[in-house]
């Protein structure tokens, strides 16, 4: 005797979304993407870590790069800095990050700011992967 089994059709070939709100939120505010992806503790740790790195970079009198299409290194630094999202815009608005060449640790500060931005890019992409289910 044959029995009929009904199953729901699933689209196994569906491609994951290229963009999610978590990606944008995570870029604008460090850790917010993880909060949006329902990982608030990870989000809080990332927020504290990346913000502290950015602020310490500024306190070390690091330099904030600005967009200068004529200078490739300046543009690369700008892209890195821009990774911190609203932190970068707030610091620029507050007229911070002019750099101080006479202070030995100012160059470290500049690197702290750039790396904070790059780490935030990684965190935002991680939030995106969590949101679309690519990562658990």
């Amino acid at each position: 005797m044959a029995t009929r089994v009904e199953t729901t059709a699933t689209n196994v070939t569906a491609k994951p979304a290229l963009f999610s709100l978590a990606l944008l939120a995570g870029w604008l505010v460090p850790g917010l993407g993880h909060v949006q992806a329902k990982r608030p503790i990870r989000g809080a740790i990332l927020f504290v870590t990346i913000t502290l790195m950015f602020v310490l970079g500024l306190l070390m009198q690091g330099k904030l790069y600005v967009a200068d299409p004529g200078d490739l290194l300046e543009m690369l630094g700008f892209v890195g800095d821009l990774g911190t999202g609203l932190l970068y815009l707030a610091a620029r608005f507050a007229d911070l990050g002019h750099g101080a060449v006479q202070v030995a640790t100012a160059d470290y500060g500049t690197k702290f700011i750039v790396v904070a931005g790059l780490l935030n890019f990684i965190a935002a992409i991680d939030a995106h992967n969590l949101r679309i289910g690519r990562k658990l």
């Binding site: 990332l46 990346i50 310490l56 306190l59 690197k111 904070a116 990684i122």
Partner: protein, 61 residues
């Protein structure tokens, strides 16, 4: 704005700590694995700097 001027080694420790925390959270899924990977990255950061410093010392002397 108040200035902060850490020593070179303190800057290394801070850098390694921040980067390792983010690497741990983003590159692993389970909390225990995150912690272990973060510690692994931190040790690699710090000890590679110490090793590199000794290499530079012997090159100079």
């Amino acid at each position: 704005m108040a200035a902060y001027a850490p020593s070179h080694f303190t800057a290394v420790l801070l850098f390694a700590t921040f980067a390792s925390i983010v690497f741990g959270i983003t590159q692993r899924s389970a909390p225990k694995a995150m912690f272990r990977y973060g510690v692994y990255c931190w040790v690699l950061f710090v000890f590679s700097v110490i090793a590199g410093s000794w290499v530079m010392y012997f090159i100079k002397h």
